[in-house]
Amino acid sequence: MARESKPADAKLSHTAALILHAVDAGFIYGFSIMEMTGLPSGTVYPAMRRLERDELIRSHWERQSIADAEQRPPRKYYKLTPAGKITLEASRKRYPLLERLIPSEEAKSV
């Protein structure tokens, strides 16, 4: 029942909000989020599982042909859902300093 609350009302922890910001800023796979936030893998991946469970982010696998062309294994990418975007807006009000921690321009240029 608690999970049926509106996404905008969902109270994210600071870590979860940081990861949500990172995904929005273009850091769309686990290791890049780790590098950007400085959080260990044991924190980032479980947090992403919970965000995905709460339908704030969605994952999809990269096409095999792209991975083959670059001679590497395919990656799993994460993307914000509409509910995630609403929650992100709410978390920006709650954690205003997060904007400064995640340089979105840099991410877009990668």
């Binding site: 029942m1 608690a2 796979y29 686990g30 290791f31 780790m34 590098e35 260990p40 893998s41 044991g42 924190t43 980032v44 991946y45 479980p46 599982r49 919970r50 469970r53 590497r72 294994p73 395919p74 990656r75 799993k76």
Partner: protein, 501 residues
């Protein structure tokens, strides 16, 4: 140097991920493993780009792989709530009964597997015949020394008796017992009771393999083996009955095996050689006698004084001690300790069930019947638990009928009964009268210093939203015992989440 170990380190990292993957639920495992292996590939490329391993880089990679365990446990937990018992069932009456039944099963199972307890329990069905006394010289305070001479036994047996209608004699001496073909004196010494032929018939003790005895009427005396001797010297052969053995210098035929702990009379005996008549020159022994109805009427207590007249009108002052209660019976000890515990119970807890405040309007008779049935079931389960647990403790490392075992059983039964009954009463007082669920979330209300100005104590709540329990911190004349408050429908909003979950 490190580069040589690179394949090994890669294998190790892969092994970590594979191990962690077993924590992940099966249906998500393959995808989870694929994601982590892909990420690991990228991590390794970033940390050690030229495939030249160095220790700090490997530490980073390993730290990354160790994080997979946390991720795996996170996924496992996300699937767990569906498997966990519903919160509504926690603290329920059924859970309590099941827990007690499980404890009872465990205690009973332990009793089955502990040899001492098994022997003790087998004796419960192998009680001696009623009306038997052991006769000994009244001048001896204990039974460790035999006091009756064979000629006394023969005299009593041949004379017409008013109070006794059967006598049996035995004396214990060390002897060797082995197969007839084995050389004499080649085996260890055992305690052998040289007994009259009617000893086991008079006692009425059951023997194993006694029905297999095919005595060919060769005049050989019978020998009964103890289970210990049978196992050690005869390899627990189930076709042992009828075998000819040598007992000391005598040749005898095996007539049966006495189960462990069957013998509760004085003397440590490993075999019983049953002879028609005891040797006249033999040493003193013990006499068992069976009372006639007239003799039984004379037994006011467990002991009776007997005056026996010898051949030259000499008088022997003897003492007859009932064999029925010769050693404390575990069942009698249990009942005695239970009685003591019941007497002591009011000293350590209130025997009230705290139902004085239960309104008859809110508790219909089926509910009250259920509540009382639950209490009776708990007691009915506790009593056998105490019995088996005390037997387990007493006879796990002690031989049957030893004094140490009896003391341990007495003390453990008393302690377990006392604190078990105390727990039952306290548990009953904290169960909602409507649903029998334990009340939870105790909250301290008020201050002890304001006891005489306002109320202070503890409040607990039924998680199904039926009742609120008030327990006073200090009993006063206006609030001496706990009180139940029935919650009406206006409280439902508080429990909506719990009920609908």
């Amino acid at each position: 140097m490190m580069a040589a170990f690179l394949p090994l380190l890669t294998l190790f990292d892969q092994g970590l991920l594979r191990t962690a993957s077993f924590v992940v639920p099966r249906r998500q495992r393959a995808e989870w493993r694929q994601e982590w292996q892909s990420e690991l590939w990228h991590v390794r490329r970033t940390c050690a780009p030229a495939d030249c391993a160095c220790w700090p880089a490997e530490q980073q990679v390993m730290a990354f792989c160790l994080g997979a365990f946390q991720d795996a446990f996170c996924l496992r937990q996300q699937c767990m709530p569906m498997r966990l018992p519903r919160p509504a069932k926690q603290g329920s009456a059924a859970q309590c009964i099941l827990a007690l039944a499980a404890i009872l099963f465990a205690c009973d199972a332990a009793a089955l597997f502990l040899p001492g307890v098994r022997a003790e329990r087998s004796l419960m069905v192998g009680q001696v015949n009623p009306g038997l006394v052991m006769i000994q010289n009244a001048g001896y305070s204990d039974d460790t020394s035999p006091t009756i001479r064979p000629h006394q036994y023969r005299t009593w047996k041949t004379r017409r008796q008013q109070y006794f209608d059967g006598f049996a004699f035995y004396r214990v001496q060390p002897d060797s017992v082995n197969q007839e073909s084995a050389p004499a004196g080649s085996s260890a010494s055992w305690g052998v009771a040289h007994a009259s032929a009617n000893l086991f018939i008079l006692l009425g003790l059951p023997l194993r393999f006694a029905d297999q005895d095919r005595n060919p009427a060769d005049g050989l005396p019978s020998v009964i083996l103890s289970e210990r001797l049978w196992t050690r010297e005869f390899g627990a052969n189930s076709h042992v009955a009828g075998t000819v053995v040598r007992v000391g210098n005598r040749i005898a035929r095996i007539a049966g095996v006495a189960p462990n702990g069957l013998w509760r009379l004085p003397g440590k005996v490993d075999a019983w050689l049953l002879e028609p008549e005891p040797e006249a020159t033999a040493g003193a022994g013990y006499v068992i006698a069976h009372l006639t109805p007239a003799g039984a009427a004379e037994m006011w207590t467990q002991c009776v004084h007997i005056t026996a007249y010898g051949p030259e009108d000499s008088e022997d002052i003897l003492l007859g001690v009932s064999i029925q209660d010769y050693r404390p019976n575990p069942w009698s000890l249990y009942l005695f300790a239970l009685l003591l515990a019941l007497l002591a119970l009011p000293a350590i807890t209130s025997v009230s069930l705290g139902e004085s405040s239960v309104s008859p309007q809110n508790t219909s008779w089926p509910r009250r019947l259920t509540r009382w049935s639950f209490l009776c079931t708990k007691i009915a389960l506790l009593l056998p638990i105490v019995y088996f647990a005390s037997l387990d403790m007493a006879y796990a490392f002690n031989t049957p009928y030893s004094n140490a075992a009896a003391y341990i059983q007495l003390i453990s039964t008393f302690g377990l009964c006392l604190f078990g009954l105390r727990w039952i009463l306290r548990d009953q007082r904290q169960r909602c009268p409507v649903c029998l669920r334990l009340v939870e979330h105790p909250a301290q209300v008020g201050q002890a210093s304001r006891t005489f100005l306002a109320w202070n104590g503890t409040e607990m709540m039924c998680m199904d939203g039926h009742t609120l329990l008030h327990v006073p911190g200090i009993a006063t004349s206006w609030f001496g015992a706990q009180r139940w408050l029935y919650l009406d429908t206006s409280w439902d909003f508080l429990f909506a989440g719990t009920l609908g979950d």
